[in-house]
Amino acid sequence: MHRTIASLPLAPSVKIKLTSAGFDTCADLKDLRPLQLCKEAGISQEEALEVLQTLRSDDGAGVASHAGGAGAVSGGLTALQLLQKEHALGDIITFCSALDSALGGGVPVGKTTEVCGAPGVGKTQLCLQLAVDVQIPVCFGGRGGRALYVDTEGSFLVQRAADMAHAAVEHCRVVTQDAEQQAALKDFTVENILSRLSLVRCHDYVELLARCYLLPDFLTKHPEVQLVVIDSIAFPFRHDFEDFSQRTRLLNGLAQQLIQLATEHNVAVVLTNQMTTKVWNGQSKLIPALGESWGHAATQRLILHWEGTQRLASIYKSPSQMEATIPYRITEDGFRDLAPPPFPTAQPTSSGPAHSVQQRKRPRMEPLPS
């Protein structure tokens, strides 16, 4: 507020005219309209506008609210406003309550999450589960949104999505308590769930890049979409690439586009990555593919891995959550907790489906003894 005119990032001629007109600090210019400034300082209207915009962007939130709507650039938000915005955006539950609590509610909307794992550990299953869970009505604790699934490997099999949708509907039917939930349940059927899950298949990396350029328009036209899944982002980028620097460049560009997409359109972006072996000091270990620089691409990183026969999900990188390892399993109903929590009692619970899971109907098939 007490910054001198001379320190502002303006053209020197403009600064000279302002100071000779008698303006010394930004406080002097605060309440002026562009036309007034133009007359007082003898500068052109565009220059006056530019001066006032520089002033407002410099001062941030306080002045933005002060200056009203006339030509103000979007000033910064305070941390409190950001926190409120984040809470309003919410999370998409995974149906594994332990993982949801470790993630702070679920996969966050408005951020990018990367899921890495070896083949068969459950990355596609988690993505399908999220694509169904985002559609759970709000009164059941879901988001009531739609999903877009970008499939690069060809591993999206609609049979499996239908199974998971069926299980989610059954689960909601069991926990239905009041009239509002019953009304929402009428709309929450397997057909409706599948009709709100859009699929796009990309056969190579160029098609994937093209799709990502078309995503902003798609999301503007379909504002109900709250989840974009790319399964997997590693597959098209891991072969046919002799020039690794080009690959890194393309991946960085893609990462930036996706983060922008997530924040501007309030969607959760979930990416799937593969694992590769790295030999380090004579020992080999599994690390996520696509290189070191890709590690910085996503906001949050989940690594799914095996330990013996148990599947584990580790929160590897998160700005807001603690590192944690959670066991999970894949049943015919989808991505679930390790052991189902006890059956809910007669008292109504206020929390959403993740805390009142019904027993599974059929036991998991055990392998035959040899």
Binding site: A118, P119, G120, V121, T124, Q125, L148, Y149, E153, G154, S155, F156, L157, V158, R160, A162, I193, L194, S195, L197, S198, L199, V200, H203, V206, E207, L209, A210, Y213, L214, D217, F218, A234, F235, R238, H239, D240, Q246, R249, L250, G253, Q274, M275, T277, V279, Q283, S284, K285, L286, W306, G308, T309, R311, T331, E332, R364, M365, P367, L368, S370
Partner: protein
């Protein structure tokens, strides 16, 4: 790329032509600022350019999963699978092997993997309503020669295997005419086969199944232990070619793989896929595993299993991973007429009497008439 077709201001098109940009791939691979520098267009213009090129490149709009389920998009979801010809095996795989994507069958030598491949080569030739695809198969042998005697045996026994089908139908198909056999002794021959000969067969509709027996053979032999990067590169080229063919022509690809022994305990640098009690793991490591959509493992068990008058060593077919299948196993046996699953509840004997059915090195199956301990004398087969 024909720039005139794009829905763009002619000024932008002219700038693109001046910058000597030839293809959509180049445009999409360049970032906004790079394109601005190259074409001297403004940021908004470059944004329009990207969007227009992307729209021209991606012709298909998104489809909903409901449309896929109803079969309205057969190019994305064919809606049926390739059956094995056996109800038990099909039940394990929920219909059979998927039409798009690579299915891998790994197992020790003598487990019966080639038998599965041969059986699929026959079952693909039946019409679609009977679980086939109404077309032929191409069988790529990389190691041993093709087991032609066993194929003839299987063809002769088809009416016994497919008892659910009308005999006239089974007899009317000339099975051996529709199986194309390729022998590829080295990597170069394999690459020529995959890139040139197989696309021709596929585009003419002559084949709708590709069997590679085996994948591991060439890749393990041609590369030394320290040439892993080179091997991985070739493996990825090979698998991406197969993947592309599979998706373009909706052709199932069955890759038969060998196994490696697990000598040390659990190793954090190696993925076990949750198979803790297994002494063997599929070969070719994680690089190959990432390309495979459905992984099956075949194991020989002890004991013996009988069905009717035949008995053989049981095998266990296990689904290691698949996007649509649970971890499940089924018992099966290699009989005279082919591979057939053994439903639960069939006779399985604990003690190992001498085997009745022998799988010879050339793939042929020979029955010996030694009766099992305590059983009635076995009749002639």
């Amino acid at each position: 790329m024909n720039w005139e077709e794009l829905d763009l201001n002619p000024r932008i098109i002219a700038a693109v032509k001046r910058a000597n940009v030839k293809s959509a791939k180049e445009i999409l691979s360049l970032s906004g600022p790079d394109l601005q520098r190259l074409t001297k267009l403004s940021k908004a213009d470059v944004h329009h350019l990207h969007t227009a090129v992307a729209q021209a490149y991606c012709k298909r709009p998104p489809v909903t999963a409901l449309q896929l389920l109803r079969g309205e998009c057969p190019s994305l979801e064919p809606g049926h699978r390739l059956s094995f010809g056996c109800a038990v095996l099909d039940a394990l795989l929920r219909g059979g092997i998927p039409l798009c994507g690579i299915t891998e069958l790994a197992g020790e030598s003598g487990a019966g993997k080639t038998q599965f491949g041969l059986q699929l080569c026959l079952s693909v030739q039946y019409p679609v309503e009977h679980g086939g695809l109404g077309s032929g198969a191409v069988f790529i042998c990389t190691e041993d020669s093709f087991p032609i005697k066993r194929l003839r045996q299987l063809i002769a026994q088809q009416p016994h295997l497919r008892e659910d089908l009308p005999k006239a139908l089974v007899r009317s198909i000339r099975f051996s005419d529709n199986i194309y056999i390729e022998h590829t002794a080295d990597l170069k021959a394999l690459q020529t086969c995959i890139s040139q000969r197989i696309p021709v067969l596929l585009s003419r509709g002559l084949v709708r199944l590709v069997v590679v027996d085996s994948v591991a053979g060439l890749f393990r032999n041609e590369f030394q232990a320290d040439e892993t990067i080179e091997r991985t590169r070739h493996l990825l080229t090979f698998s991406s070619a197969l993947h592309r063919l599979s998706h373009t022509y909706h052709t199932p690809v069955l890759c038969i793989n060998q196994v490696t022994d697990v000598v040390d305990g659990p190793n954090p640098g190696r993925c076990d896929f949750g198979l803790v009690e297994s002494r063997v793991l599929p070969a070719l490591g994680l690089a190959w595993a990432n390309q495979v959509m459905v992984r099956l493992m075949l194991r020989r068990l002890g004991g013996c299993v009988t069905a009717g008058e035949q008995s053989c060593i049981p095998r266990r077919l296990e689904v290691v991973f698949a996007p649509h299948l649970p971890r499940d196993t089924c018992l099966c046996g290699v009989w005279l007429e082919g591979v057939r699953g053994v439903p639960l509840g069939e006779d399985t004997h604990g003690e190992p009497p001498p085997p009745q059915q022998q799988l010879l090195p050339d793939g042929q199956v020979r029955t010996t008439h030694r009766p099992a301990a305590g059983a009635e004398g076995a009749g002639d087969t």
